[in-house]
């Protein structure tokens, strides 16, 4: 460890800047030389030099921090490399991948958990964002304040501090959310039935997916046998394996402000004439929304789906802050990235971790490719 960490990083920052300047100049000169060899005009040579000179920081960074690491991790994923052990690296072929896919129940359940989070959370998040955007689009007084309030959670985001505040609010017994649910249920009994209905359905669905993870459906049958929840039941947010993922969904939906901004941009682009024409035909607001606005918004829905999917598949912070080391709860919430962190940086199995990284990468690429392949069926680009 360096004596003064602050001076140390400052020194390295200066070295990095000098390195980038020299390397950029070198890359620019090289590009100019090549374009000269290919017989370009001197003006074109100049712009080739400048282009590569300015783009060089990214090109160099891409090589050092993306291409080389990806190459090495691909190689390591076929080895039994462990960072702590002073033993030579052995090639083990596809053993890591085979173990991950066939035998590792922890990894399998982390995939199921992450996909469950995505399948439940992403539609909720998009619906919430769309709802808020439509509300804001009505041109009200104080629109700016509302906009700020809706966007604020995006800035606070997944900061540990904010996550811990949610942890406090989600306490089963004393947390404010359950207190409010109890208070409203007492004052207004139909609300209690609604809450208990939601609890029942949620626990059945979660129980089913937890069963998929472990292969044993004992939790599901227990929920089913317990029947419709009793009058004083409240959600067991961060206490029951049935609810751990729902807490994360809640957090994600809370941060829907970025998607909301995208939808607002889309709503601004819907031509007024279409609504005027529908007005003449006597359409009600429900028809206005689903027949005119929503089809024109589908490109924006698609954008949010693509970006949101990647965000969901990379969830780490909430799992780490809320459930880390909380046995046996953590296994019901483990996400793919959390599992990666655990294998690589707790157990220092670099070979195994590399294989996990590659599987996550391939899964994200595959799901995104599927989204792009199916977009023609429902995304409406007529306006654009």
């Amino acid at each position: 460890m360096p004596k003064n960490p602050y001076l140390n990083v400052l020194a390295y920052a200066i070295i990095a800047v000098i390195f980038i300047a020299i390397a950029s100049y070198g890359l620019g000169r090289l590009a100019r030389l090549i374009s000269k060899k290919m017989g370009a005009s001197s003006r074109k040579q100049d712009s080739t030099f400048s282009g590569y000179f300015f783009a060089a920081p990214w090109i160099i960074g891409f090589l050092i921090f993306v291409i080389v690491p990806l190459g090495y991790s691909l190689y390591w994923s076929f080895t039994d490399y462990r960072i702590t052990a002073n033993v030579p690296i052995n090639l083990v072929g596809f053993e890591n991948y085979a173990r991950l896919i066939l035998n590792d129940t922890g990894f399998r359940s982390s995939i199921v958990n992450t996909l469950f989070l995505t399948a439940v959370g992403l539609p909720c998040m998009i619906a919430a964002a769309l709802f808020l955007a439509v509300l804001l689009n009505q041109k009200t007084h104080g629109e700016r304040v509302f906009r700020m309030a809706f966007y604020l959670p995006v800035i606070l985001g997944f900061n540990t501090a904010v996550l811990l505040c949610w942890r406090l609010m989600l306490n089963t017994g004393t947390g404010i959310i359950n207190q409010l649910i109890r208070a409203i249920s007492n004052a207004f009994p139909p609300f209690s039935y609604l809450v208990r209905g939601v609890i029942f359905i949620q626990e059945l669905v979660s129980g089913f997916f937890l069963g998929l993870n472990s292969g044993r459906f004992s939790l599901l049958t227990r929920v089913w046998e317990a029947g419709f929840p009793a009058a004083n039941r409240v959600p067991l947010w961060v206490e029951s394996p049935l609810w751990t993922k729902m807490s994360v969904v809640l957090l994600m939906v809370w941060g829907c402000g970025a998607m909301m901004l995208i939808f607002l941009a889309g709503l601004n682009n819907v031509p007024r004439e279409l609504h005027d024409a529908a007005e003449v035909d006597g359409a009600n607001s429900w028809q206005h929304f689903w027949k005119i606005t929503f089809p024109l918004l589908t490109p924006y829905v698609f954008y949010n789906l693509v970006v949101g999917l990647i965000a969901f598949l990379q969830i780490f912070e909430p799992i780490y802050v809320l459930y880390r080391d909380n046995q046996p709860l953590v296994s019901s919430a483990t996400s793919m990235v959390y599992y990666l962190w655990q294998a690589s940086f707790r157990n220092f199995q670099i070979g195994y971790g590399s294989a996990i990284s590659w599987l996550i990468l391939l899964l994200i690429l595959a799901l995104t490719a599927i989204q792009f392949a199916t977009q023609r069926r429902w995304v409406n680009y007529e306006l654009y």
Binding site: P5, V9, A16, F53, P69, Y72, I83, V337, S357
Partner: protein, 280 residues
């Protein structure tokens, strides 16, 4: 008849808007309120929106906690340094992609966009091994230096879109006067993209300030911890009683800079993204 209908619709709209605002801001309110409560009050059942006996005890205690203060300083220090380096390099690269025509530009640009698909976590393992070889574990280098190499494809893209909208006549006349690309970049292009720069700076700031995974892996010693890592250690997962007032005080102090930056930049973000982020 028509007007009463319109008015009642308006009222419902405002009720929904206000309700959503309360829901979205509630965690923040709860954080502040809890930081002023006593330990008994945070752990007691019943709805207590405001503390009955407001106390600044937790604030006084945390300002005497040297670990917390140092992690605060660490966060400011590393965020500033990483932000400066990233912002400068991102602006340079965005200039190359928008204002200069060079062979291979489209290929490199496409490559850059495709890196957005690579989850940063997939690179974490090999990068850790490299930084370990450099003996950079336990220093700030791994969380600061990579940014200097124009980290953040989305940010480059955002800046490129706005730089591309500046009329090219401006540079042409400057070049005739004998200006270099660096001069045009600094004197003509940058002043015209102040708003997008502010947005990118805000996003980068928020990203660095909130970052948990990389600091957690690379810093390793308490004396280097950044706020997210330090605050997460305040919450003891296996204990049944948490020091909620202390945790919430740390949380409030952690979010203050975020709020400040957001209030300064919200004008650009809430309108600017709509103009520059998607269109173009």
């Amino acid at each position: 008849m028509r007007t009463t209908w319109a008015i009642s619709k308006r009222i419902v709209l405002y009720i929904f808007l206000t309700g959503s605002t309360i829901v979205m801001c509630f965690p923040l309110f709860w954080m502040i309120s809890s930081s002023l409560k006593t330990l008994q009050e945070t752990n007691s059942p019943g709805i207590m929106l405001l503390p009955k006996h407001p106390t600044l005890e937790a604030y006084i205690a945390i300002f005497q906690n040297s670990d917390f203060l140092r992690s605060y300083f660490n966060t400011i220090f590393y965020t500033t340094l990483a932000l400066l380096g990233t912002l400068a390099s991102v602006a340079l690269v965005a200039y190359a992609f928008s204002r200069i025509t060079w062979p291979g530009r489209n290929v490199v640009f496409f490559l850059m966009l495709s890196t957005m698909m690579i989850p940063p976590q997939a690179l974490l393992v090999p990068q850790y091994v490299f930084f370990n070889k450099f003996h950079w574990i336990g220093t700030f280098n791994p969380i600061v230096i990579p940014g200097f190499f124009a980290g953040g494809a989305a940010m480059i893209f955002l800046l490129r879109q706005s730089m591309a909208q500046i009329p090219f006549e401006l540079d042409e006349s400057a070049f005739i006067d004998g200006a270099s690309h660096l001069q045009v970049f600094w004197e003509i292009v940058l002043p015209l993209v102040k708003a997008p720069l502010a947005i990118v700076a805000t996003f980068l700031f928020v990203g660095f300030w909130n970052s948990l995974l990389a600091p957690l892996i690379y810093l390793q010693t308490v004396s280097l911890y950044t706020l997210p890592v330090y605050v997460s250690t305040l919450y003891n997962i296996n204990s049944s009683v948490q020091q909620w007032p202390t945790i919430m005080t740390a949380a409030v102090l952690t979010t203050v800079p975020l709020m400040l930056v957001f209030f300064i930049a919200q004008r650009y973000i809430l309108e600017g993204v709509i103009i520059t982020g998607l269109k173009g």
